[in-house]
Amino acid sequence: MFELTKAGERTYYINHSTIIGVYKLTDKEVCLIDTGRSRKDGERLQALFEEQGWELKFILNTHTHIDHLGGNEYLMKTWGCPAYATNIDNAFANYENLEAAYMYGGFPNNTLSNIFRHPGPVGFRDIEDFQLPEGLEYIRLPGHSFGMIGIKTSDNVWFIGDSVLNSKALEKYQFGYLVDVAGYLETLELLKELEGNLFLPSHGDIVSDIKPLAEKNRNNIEDNIAGIFKDCGTGVNFDDLLKKVFDRYGIRGDMPQYALSGSTLRCYLSYMEEQGLVIPYFEDNLLKWKQAQDA
């Protein structure tokens, strides 16, 4: 059974592997912020609603990665209620294999399409077309996904999705998934400016002051960049660069990691080129990345 923690007068959360927010719109009516990683989590939420006598009105998704969308379909059907995310993130929710195809850069093989399969067109709606009820607001926090958002409740509680890695992850797994390094860094700066009583990153480290964690994340990104920069040296191809990333961070290479870390590495390289740090070039029909002369 899910256990509720009170974070404010009307705001609760469930400290699950992916944090789930519950906001009371009225005495009886609630909305959810994310829904965990599986249908089972949806069923657990349903049990909780029954126990509390709550009615679910809608779901807000910080972003549409599968470990946040888990209970969406079950709860949407059970309550006949809508689920919202940003329109570009909905593209990834609505098309079962788009995330896998994007990360891999081509048609995903069975292993990838099974692991990263999205719900498909079960009725996600664009949050841009939704007038959020009083007490709730959202801001864009792009970087980890194309259209991620953070959600603030009237209790000054912020649900900030996967905009930061928690301290444990920063020690253990520094090469966090992202789609846009520039966006990710801007989001970290934006987090530092946010006012709030409590900040809830989706994977833990609930804090009243997000600045130190945002700063640690910025340092982590900079360390990752420095590592890749060193790896590029006088010219290295992508396969060798990815192997170096796997080796450095102790990641065991397998098909899902090839897609996740591979895609993330490609994003770093794009950003580093933009920053004038590395240069792509072709040598005998092979694409290589090297350090820029004046970097």
Partner: protein, 293 residues
């Protein structure tokens, strides 16, 4: 270039690198099938429509590749017209950064954020929504791209989008861009059985008999799969496969080709892996591909 060619009572195309189809619904009102490479293509379309005294009611996009939706933004501004696309193609047309992102497998670097691969965004509606010409049949043609479609106009003209490369371009480029090889082959079977007064492929000559070109395109898929299997006789990593393929096919490498052919090869590898013709395994933390048997 940019001549107007009539192919049916109500159907035309504009001759250009990615043919733009025209369906004339009434004396004055027309729909485009795709909108060309870029803003310039859009301007040329506008000139032709003006000369004919036609009004643009809407654009039907076969798929979201930049050379097919490039004129969308300009023409939508000029005519305030509706644009229709299906499924995932709608999302890619609204968020054009998705095309180079998908082809590369991550946020695209500068050389990929070019109009060849990334059009200007336009506002899109699903096929069949308000303003869609109901008498035009939408034909699913997946394979080359996610949810690509063709269109059949009431006079029996079928616009085939990118199902088929021309013989000349197969000779020159050898490998046609595709996303889903299995779906592509099924689409070729479907096109081979299709009846029409005339077929208009975007990148090949319009023809009454399309069967020979379908067969040529199908043969190429199997030839390319065989090339990749030959390259993978010894375990090799992806970048090396791509390099070897460019050498074998005598292709010229550039950034556009790196992602277009690169993505296509990744898709071939997935297809062959799922069929058990090739395996992908990790050795010393590097993914290697090897032919089976």
């Amino acid at each position: 270039m940019y001549e107007l060619v009539q192919v049916g009572e109500k159907s035309y195309y504009i001759e250009c690198p990615a043919k733009i189809g025209i369906y004339r619904q009434t004396e004055k009102d027309v729909f485009l099938i795709d909108s060309g490479n870029d803003k310039d293509a859009g301007k040329k379309v506008r000139k032709i429509l003006d000369e004919q005294g036609w009004n643009l009611k809407g654009i039907l996009n076969t798929h979201s590749n930049a050379d097919h939706i490039g004129g969308n933004a300009y023409l939508q501004r000029q005519y305030e017209c509706r644009i229709f696309a299906g499924g995932i193609e709608k999302a890619f047309t609204e968020y054009p950064v998705l095309e180079p992102s998908f082809l590369y497998g991550g946020y695209p670097f500068k050389e990929l954020r070019h109009k060849f691969l990334m059009a200007k965004p336009s506002l899109v509606q699903e096929f069949g929504s308000e303003g869609f010409p109901e008498e035009v049949e939408v034909i699913d043609l997946p394979g080359h791209f996610f949810d690509m479609t063709g269109f059949r106009t009431p006079d029996g003209t079928v616009f085939l989008a990118d199902c088929l490369s021309s013989a000349a371009s197969l000779e020159k480029y050898r490998i046609s861009v595709l996303y889903d090889a299995a779906a592509y082959l099924e689409t070729l079977d479907k096109v081979e059985r299709m009846e029409a007064n005339i077929f208009v492929p975007s990148h090949a000559q319009a023809a009454e008999d399309i069967v020979p070109l379908v067969r040529l395109n199908r043969e190429k898929v199997f030839e390319n799969a065989q090339e990749i299997r030959d390259i993978c006789k010894e375990p090799v990593s992806f970048e090396t496969i791509l390099q070897s393929l460019f050498e074998r096919l005598e292709l010229e490498m550039n950034y556009e080709q790196y992602v277009l052919v690169g993505s296509t090869v990744r898709s071939y590898l997935a297809w062959m892996k799922d069929q058990g013709q090739i395996e992908g395994f990790f050795e010393k933390n590097m993914l290697l591909w090897k032919s089976v048997g």
